[in-house]
Homo-oligomer: 402 residues x 2
Amino acid sequence: MTDIEDFTLAAGFRATAVSCGLKANDTLDLALIAAAGPCSAAGVFTTNHVKAAPVLYDQAVLAANPVGIRAVIANAGCANACTGARGMADAREMAALTAAALGCAAAEVLVLSTGVIGRHLDMQKLADGIAAVSSPEAHVGAAYAARAIMTTDTRPKVAGRDLMVDGVPIAVRGFAKGAGMIHPNMATMLAIITTDAVVAPALLQSMLQAATARSFNRISVDGDMSTNDTLLLLASGAAGIEIAEADLPAFQQALNETCVALAKQIVADGEGATRLVEINVRGALDEGQAHLVADSIARSSLVKTAIHGGDPNWGRILAAAGACGALIAPDRLALALGPIAEPLMVVAAGLPTAYDERAAAAMLHADPVAIHLDLGLGDAQATVWTCDLSAEYVAINAHYTT
Amino acid sequence: MTDIEDFTLAAGFRATAVSCGLKANDTLDLALIAAAGPCSAAGVFTTNHVKAAPVLYDQAVLAANPVGIRAVIANAGCANACTGARGMADAREMAALTAAALGCAAAEVLVLSTGVIGRHLDMQKLADGIAAVSSPEAHVGAAYAARAIMTTDTRPKVAGRDLMVDGVPIAVRGFAKGAGMIHPNMATMLAIITTDAVVAPALLQSMLQAATARSFNRISVDGDMSTNDTLLLLASGAAGIEIAEADLPAFQQALNETCVALAKQIVADGEGATRLVEINVRGALDEGQAHLVADSIARSSLVKTAIHGGDPNWGRILAAAGACGALIAPDRLALALGPIAEPLMVVAAGLPTAYDERAAAAMLHADPVAIHLDLGLGDAQATVWTCDLSAEYVAINAHYTT
């Protein structure tokens, strides 16, 4: 990756950002992604039964108009969730104001919000902000837009993978936010990914769902799932190349890698996190079992605090694996810590090996921390990413609204 | 309750404790519950697929001999979990040593262990300890036994309810441990409950399971489930009164109340906990739905940190309710905080009321904190108990084995 300041979205998209006063201290809090022409679009949304207004709004827009999206307007500081009919009207008004500023139709604009739940948007600030973010005075660049959607994130998150299709370079580029409330499915995160390829909406949607299943749905910070999670994929077609059947695997791989790179940045920047943790479960009967076990380990506060302390308390990992309901055979479990090329075996056939305690502790002080659990039952595997759990997580979350 | 030092088990049981060096600093770490004669017994055990040796051992003993249990030997400092065939042999040896000291058969002795996973028991220390705990030199009393099974607990936990059956007083008395790794089903906890009534084993078992469902299976500290959870119920028959059909409801109620009292003590003493949290979900379609929603709220790190900070971030409670998969209607949700007699309504019909922020914060600083969520769908309800999540939880768990 190039330096974040040089990072650009795919051709055909312009990213801008301003501060409009929704967050304190004049920090950036409003981002606009404007397309040069109508885009194909796909979206994956929170499965929480309490959905924020912008989620409900975008689902309706995408259902009606998946081929003519022109812009995404995104604010931080207020989630516009649990806000009832007024919240829906505010989301609609955000889209209308953006459409008016860009000279397109409201039905061509998607809306994202993130921040505190249960408060109404300050529409006066947003109206002024939308005017500013669509004016020449706005900060220009994806790095600014990535900063503008941050909440408790400590750094912006961008990623991309380019590929060649018929000799033409195609870009897959995006940015994301999300630090707390991260858990499958998707949790509190926003992500916008752009491509300059020509892709039909239905194909875009199926590829986005496939990528999500092995990236954003494989990360966990705290087990909480947000009301606002949204992942958007927009295709401008600016490269003039349509993704044909033969190119699908390469495009899917670029999309997967972009999503995994963003997802890993999200957990690495988890609230209070000091280290990225990668949990590989293999030897499972099927991928679902591998995912269930990996997820249970990733959710365990006891495992995450032990990693934070660099404490090789592997019993907690086995206990978490056993607790998830997967039918595992304790006497077949093998556990290794550290880089896959040279892992340290700490459990074999369900029993501790004569491993060196200091070497094991060192593996847990590494960044990323890698945990390899072999169930000894089959050939399927799954990887889940999480972070350690620190006292800082508690400090961040004990006083968020007040 | 009387003072804990005066607390006694039901007639027919003698509790003793010693320090045998499994825990540091000469703290009590070995407890013996010895019955004057053969007892009916029932047990509820962890559902973790990774079960500790004493769990597997006790399940076999109870299956073979539910009418002639004479003693329970319990150690802290080492869980005897993930210890393979040697662990099973050690559990068997603990029973045999206890049986020899008491002059009964090994098949009449149950074994409990709690502490670090993946290490073998120091059988020499245990042999000396079992000799001591069955000698006149041991500390006598349930309060000592309750202390001897503590791990990260900060205080012993005892509870009991007495009832009258045919004019004869019947006691239901027990003690428990467990502070971390507490989550349905049962989690890291040990509990031994005694009664002097005459009860057949099958009835004892069904009553214990019913009581567990609404007590120990309704608490959560950190979402982790242990390899060692065991709840035992022993009936000495010393009162000479058999529990007949007509007395069942009263006996079940006394047992339920004893279990709930112990369960609440466990979460109130959760690792790093500063306040007990009671989550009442009502207006559900059925008890399962109410339990699912209450449990999701109790598991939410974001809710628990907000409570720790006294931050009335009710959006996190609604988000946790929405995340659990229960089919709830967001616009029917009503949320109140504080004592049930005079709760503060903060959400009605899914939207925030014009509540006073300081009054809401005060409700979250109370102990216990009470949360009342009405789903507005039906008549069923469930209560779950948890605790707040503090930085101290992280500090306790980051360096447990080292």
